[in-house]
Subunit: 620 residues, 2 copies
Amino acid sequence: MRNQRIRELRSLMKERGIDIYIIPTSDYHQSEYISDYFKVRQFITGFTGSAGTAVVTMEEACLWTDGRYYIQAEKELQGCEFKLYKMGMDKVPTVREYMKEYISRHTEKYNKCIENDVINNVENHTGQSSSPKICIGFDGQVLCARDGVDYERLAEENHACIYCEEDLIDTLWDNRPPFPTSQAYVLEEQYSGKSTADKLREVREHMNKQKADIHVLSDVCDIAWLLNIRGDDIRHVPVILSCLLMDMDKCCWYVKKENLNQKVLEYLSDNHIEVREYNCIYQDLHKIKGKKLLADLGRINYRMKSSINTELIDAVNPEQLLKAVKNPTEVENIKAAHIKDGVAVTKFMYWLKHTIGTQTITEMDAAKKINQLRSEQEHYIDISFDTIAAYGENAAMMHYEADESCNAILEPKGFLLVDSGGHYLEGSTDITRTFALGELSKEEQKMFTAVVRSNLNLAAAKFLYGCTGENLDILAREPLWELGVDYRCGTGHGNGYLLNVHEGPNSFRWRIQENIPRAAVFEEGMITTDEPGVYEEGKYGIRIENELLCKKGIKNDYGQFMEFETITYAPIDLDAINVEEMTLKEKNSLNDYHKKVYETISPYLSEDEREWLKDITRKV
Amino acid sequence: MRNQRIRELRSLMKERGIDIYIIPTSDYHQSEYISDYFKVRQFITGFTGSAGTAVVTMEEACLWTDGRYYIQAEKELQGCEFKLYKMGMDKVPTVREYMKEYISRHTEKYNKCIENDVINNVENHTGQSSSPKICIGFDGQVLCARDGVDYERLAEENHACIYCEEDLIDTLWDNRPPFPTSQAYVLEEQYSGKSTADKLREVREHMNKQKADIHVLSDVCDIAWLLNIRGDDIRHVPVILSCLLMDMDKCCWYVKKENLNQKVLEYLSDNHIEVREYNCIYQDLHKIKGKKLLADLGRINYRMKSSINTELIDAVNPEQLLKAVKNPTEVENIKAAHIKDGVAVTKFMYWLKHTIGTQTITEMDAAKKINQLRSEQEHYIDISFDTIAAYGENAAMMHYEADESCNAILEPKGFLLVDSGGHYLEGSTDITRTFALGELSKEEQKMFTAVVRSNLNLAAAKFLYGCTGENLDILAREPLWELGVDYRCGTGHGNGYLLNVHEGPNSFRWRIQENIPRAAVFEEGMITTDEPGVYEEGKYGIRIENELLCKKGIKNDYGQFMEFETITYAPIDLDAINVEEMTLKEKNSLNDYHKKVYETISPYLSEDEREWLKDITRKV
């Protein structure tokens, strides 16, 4: 069936004179997670992972994906024409390099044909009578503007051209899921901590600084933050698919009418926010003339970019930094959310430790249990991402999710890794614990202890204002690097407030890459996950994830010192730790943390649970 | 007298229509250290520090310098018109900002004048009859090309113009020191480890990669490395002031005839290196047409840049990385140099510890003593920089140098900081030790212990290939940051082989600044200093400096791990350490290091010295 789809796509490509068709994984807003409506790449390839790019030519069908998905993609591509390109592996070309090579190879071929033909008989699809050009096709609405501009340059430099007016897959896709239109709702100021009016004022101050007259937004999280409005258009990301255009006086929200109810309309009207039809953003952008437009080319689509007729200031959306620095109300709320979360995780651990070996538990049972405990908390809205409950070697796959076809039964030995989180009115959480279910190997204990040390060492950092995640990352990594072990991902990421649990611009990571913006300087109020791990294929996976709130420390002649407060409250499994491998400082850190966990969580537990918590948070 | 010089300069400026005259600290080659001939900024300001920029307008005379020199500059500027701008302090404008403000302020004034005048009566110095322009002046031969291009842009954007054909100070400077013309000599292959032919081949490979036809060099250390030739044109930097132009076949060295003797000429001839007159570089650059020229705008002067008429590839000189990665012969030689150095420093420590309190020692005596001990080593050529021997609070000034007017007498208490190094045929060294001369305060002990921990922690780093000094720096800084203390400089720098002891592109530092190239990825064979410190104004200064050789560690599925070998061998003063504040791992590191020091250095000592060394390198 997938090969049939490829054939149909090629015939559409032929009709339009397209030689290379690119299918990224994205919606119209460059969202990290996408609604089913946008799962075009999955439709054509059958690969269900969250990241990847498909490229179809007349000769080949290829899929690029990263290290998280090598194994899964190989499995899912079986039986279809798609060939897997493992991004990041030695000698594997990037999509761009692949295209470049394709264009140059075929341009030569064309040119040879022309020598034999009469030149004027050949007309390429652009209607120009010059020599024919290789044509790169893609849906301009789903390609990131920055990539589109890059492909434009590639085309220009290699005498190729671009066709981006159509979503070719749409024609092939019977029973395509509907475009999402969930109900929008207002996030009250007791939760958001800042009014929309104040946020608009702050954004306008930034526009002023950057000498911008007008500002376009397409990032759904930036818009949700700015308008204090949430929805449910993307699974586990409580947002509304929409765009926004604002100048110094006016603010227009481009959104489907179906998303809005009377209460939201009144709220918008009170805030002088005009509502316009979702699709009008392109024509409205096109009409702007003689103004300086602030647009983040990494966060708008290529069709939007192509609609711009006025001077462009390409800069990161000011909303990115503004929403990453949580205001005091948000901080207090998020701490409250973490207490609820800690209660759920602690109760889960109690259940797990008391049930394992007495009745059958599968990975899916474990996930269901923790989701259930979380949903019982006040102001719970949703889980914040699909729960990962991975047993034994399954946990070595960082983004494993059990399903009917693969659902391990937990045995009273080895590790269960549970990575989960919740959306509450008080914010979003993301926490990982790895539990010993029984006997552990020496290696498992050693690695677990190293991961705990990593986690604690980063959390204990004291640093001068100005440091970024690239400066601090090694504090987490050193205990593992000393053992010749690494985790092939960053150490942590920012977390949204009732938004995407992956949020920039703060993060912990060490590689400084040329084309990727640097991690942000840590500001008071930023919250970043601290999640080192060890993943040994075919053996086990360990991860301990807490969230760290950045705070000001002492200030003196040397400058402003900064530090972290851990705001995740759940026990770290002492059954898996070899205390002898920890320094005194690390032991003190662990004891202090466990004391805080007990004090914070115990009031919400039953007598039995409390007794047990006392014991498992004992001093080491 | 200095005010008289300023008056004379202004009258020269007036004659030429110059409004702002910039005097950087540089020679024609953007060298860090400069010969007396080039001390133009010192001549006009009286400020003797190694870094700073003077700017003279009709209204003001200003000097910019950095934190190392605030105190010294304030003192030395007394009684003259120069006003001090403290670079890096809040709200202090940069030279560029100052100029921009000056230009815009005066352009307004001019425009006002013109409104009252008849426009055509006014002619600016360029001879054009348009409105008069503010003119920025400087000697194009001493300004870095990158700064020149920046000032060009500044001028363009602000309707100003540039005058750079003359060194105005030369006219004022009676008895200017002569242009340096020391004797060049060949560094034999047993020391350099690689022939000039091989080095030329490697550079040409890089040129090929960058699609360059021709390559110009003005960095005197890059040239010395490439040609395996050394000299003595700059105090303590054994190089010849010269330029070099090479393509795929030919290589021309632009050098003063006075620098060359018959042996060197023969060597050059054997290597097919053509000798051309030093000053011909400008006309020869000018003649190049239709080629791609690789030139590092940060390492050529503005006059050279202005002479270029062909396509420019502005990239870091490939020699920078090539010379930073020491070849195996160099590594072995450098280790041998460090043994000699360690013997000198250990003997100095023995002398110091046995002499303090029994006879009068001044800072200058101490410097003289260590210089003497170093000069007794085989193949010694020179000290590699002016020895810093700073007692007590003097050591809080990072770049303190005692002289007749300020030469403290050492007392049997507190710290003596000695930062010194040597040039040998086997390479250059840079080492700092801080010695307890008697009783110490609790704070002094605490800080000394923290500095030792900093030094050892960085040296013990294990890290994946790809890390830079920005990733690793915090390993050194964390023990001090935990105490709310910092040192206001990088943690370490690369070191040349019988060249400048400050060498890029490897370094340890944490601030990632936009306009400064990032520190290089650590490669096997790079040598970097590890020199954390604490500097408390009016109290004390502590610094411990070792050199670290980067080596490959284990390689596995996670990648290539890297580590350091400490190649400086001299005792760290146990009299100043509070062992209780060290972790077990740190104590082991210190013991391992001291064991190696004893084993390496003891064979070169007298019986008494050896007994004493045994004791002061004892296990803690």
